[in-house]
């Protein structure tokens, strides 16, 4: 009972390092690209109006760090609220669809139709309803995130091995137990694929949502940069958006490696 196979001892530390490694690699790659751009801009004498030097962009951010920090927090919260709600709703309704054929056949088509409404049109509607609030942007994010999660949850719940279902039945398991102990865990890798796609979509939705009117946020900064024809400010906002996107994506990837540790999918 106490005899644990030898390599297991060093395992947790190695795994933790393994999780940090991709992040480290990403940061290094980014730094290399930025340095290269800097050199090219200087070497070719590209004018700031076309492409500013990355160092100029960083300077701009460091001149007014509070503005960018507030923008990141604001847009981050909008995305987070909408994404969390969309993910939970998508998983819940996906499970319900997998169990209740009636619901699937009546409600699912409505979902599909809802997704054909362009996000711009939808955004205009939402801002009319909810005003310039965090809620309005979160609703847009929700609208963009819940659908992929629903579809993949349904897909995952059905990807279960019928032989495993039969095995659990032979143990006397009820449908509910089969759902909890077999179908949902089987669906998790599929759900995470959808979460990764949704996080990128959701962030874009939050930024675009701010264009319908707001006073803080990365979308607002982008718009202001555009009106002022300030290339450096635009690039600074783009950089901050990318930072937020990468953080979100990494957080989901981290959760995925912990929760779906058995490597259900590596897509």
């Amino acid at each position: 009972m106490t005899a644990v196979p030898a390599p297991a001892g060093s395992f947790p530390a190695a795994r933790r390092f393994g999780a940090v490694l991709p992040l480290l690699r990403g940061v290094l790659a980014l730094a290399a690209v930025l340095a290269a751009v800097e050199l090219i801009v200087i070497a070719l004498g590209i004018r700031p109006y076309v492409l500013p030097r990355p160092s100029a962009v960083f300077e701009a951010i460091l001149r007014t760090p509070a503005a960018y920090r507030d923008a990141i927090i604001r847009t981050g919260l909008e995305t987070l609220y909408g994404f969390a709600a969309g993910a939970l709703f998508g998983i819940g309704i996906g499970i319900a669809f997998s169990r209740l054929r009636f619901l699937r056949e009546t409600v699912f088509p409505i979902f599909i139709v809802s997704q054909t409404i362009p996000v711009i049109a939808f955004g205009a509607l939402v801002v009319m309803w909810f005003g310039n609030t965090i809620l309005a942007k979160s609703v847009i994010v929700f609208y963009l995130t819940f659908f992929p999660v629903t579809v993949n949850t349904l897909l995952g719940m059905r990807a279960v091995d019928q032989k495993q279902v039969q095995l659990l039945k032979s143990f006397g398991a009820s449908e509910g137990e089969i759902l909890r102990k077999l179908r949902f865990p089987t669906a998790l890798p599929h759900i995470f694929v959808a979460l990764r796609i949704s996080s990128a979509l959701g962030l874009a939705g939050a930024v675009v949502g701010e264009w319908f009117g707001d006073t803080t946020g990365l979308g607002v900064l982008l718009l202001q940069g555009m009106y002022a024809e300030n290339m450096v400010a635009i690039w600074a906002s783009v950089f901050c958006s990318a930072l937020l996107g990468v953080a979100l994506f990494s957080a989901i990837g981290f959760a995925e490696r912990r929760i779906v540790f058995w490597g259900g999918s590596d897509a």
Partner: protein
């Protein structure tokens, strides 16, 4: 099964044996899938504590037979299915028979212990207690020290042992094992066979064991059944009067070889039907 004193085997005794309540009693059991007749009139009695092996050409309906006895499929009407002396529907047997399917079907997100206690969890047993019991059983199944490993970290033979342990933890009088060693190499398989007999003699369950390997069928069984090609029925039934405990050298004994020849003849005849000109 040894509760009555052994006397001379007479007609009266035979009649008594019939009434001595088999744990499983199948009569004219048939199963049709659409156009395909998988089983056609299987008659089979299994006594408590008996180890019965079933051999037959592939596709003859062996797994179908197990699916019925484990409650997953209903047989055609006209089939009689009796369990522990009562006539039952197949679905009444869900949760009553411990069934090990052909593949291990371990859950990837559960470690060895948690895979093994899955049936107990479904029964509503206390999880901590079930885990302790499983921990105690690990050495017996050659899994000492592997409690916390996940299926993807195990070899094929070990995964199969976890599946067997899961089957044993689901304490039912009747165990159905569907080609449990089919995917293992010859050496591992021979080891597992001897080990299974040890475990069986400890736990004394009734076992119905499917294999496509005649040596395995004789080595393990009290009785070997040969099935016909599809649609499956019992073609031949032979008692295996070889002493237990059985050792590796048994397979070279004259009795073993004679029995093997008879069984192989019967199986060959059926296999020919599958490959013959009139095969479906």
């Amino acid at each position: 099964m040894m509760t009555r004193p052994q006397t001379d085997f007479t007609a009266a005794e035979a009649a008594m044996t019939d009434t001595a309540e088999p744990i499983l009693d199948l009569r004219t059991l048939s199963k049709t899938f659409g156009e395909v007749k998988a089983l056609n009139g299987v008659d089979l009695k299994v006594q408590p504590g008996e180890f019965v092996t079933v051999v037959g050409p592939s596709g003859c309906g062996k797994s179908t037979l197990f699916n019925i006895v484990s409650g997953l499929e209903e047989p055609d009407s006209g089939s009689v299915l009796r369990f522990e002396g009562r006539s039952v529907m197949a679905r009444d047997l869900l949760g009553k028979v411990s069934f090990m399917p052909q593949r291990d079907l371990l859950l990837a997100w559960r470690n060895v212990i948690d895979n093994a206690i899955l049936p107990l969890e479904i029964e509503g047993a206390n999880r901590a207690e079930a885990r302790r019991e499983a921990e105690r059983m690990l050495p017996e199944f050659g899994l000492a020290g592997f409690a916390k490993q996940y299926p993807h970290e195990l070899s094929g033979g070990m995964r199969q042992r976890v599946a067997l342990m899961r089957t044993f933890m689901f304490k039912r009088d009747l165990m159905l094992l569907d080609e449990p060693f089919g995917a293992l190499d010859a050496l591992t398989r021979a080891m597992m066979q001897r080990w299974l007999l040890d475990v069986w003699s400890e736990h004394r369950r009734t076992v119905l064991f499917i294999t496509h390997d005649v040596d395995e069928a004789i080595f393990l069984g009290d009785r070997v059944l040969v099935m016909t090609a599809r649609p499956g029925a019992i073609k031949l039934e032979r008692k295996v009067d070889l002493p237990r405990p059985r050792g590796a050298d048994l397979v070279t004994s004259p009795e073993f070889i004679a029995l093997k020849r008879d069984l192989l003849d019967a199986i060959e005849e059926e296999s020919m039907k599958t490959f013959g000109p009139n095969a479906h």
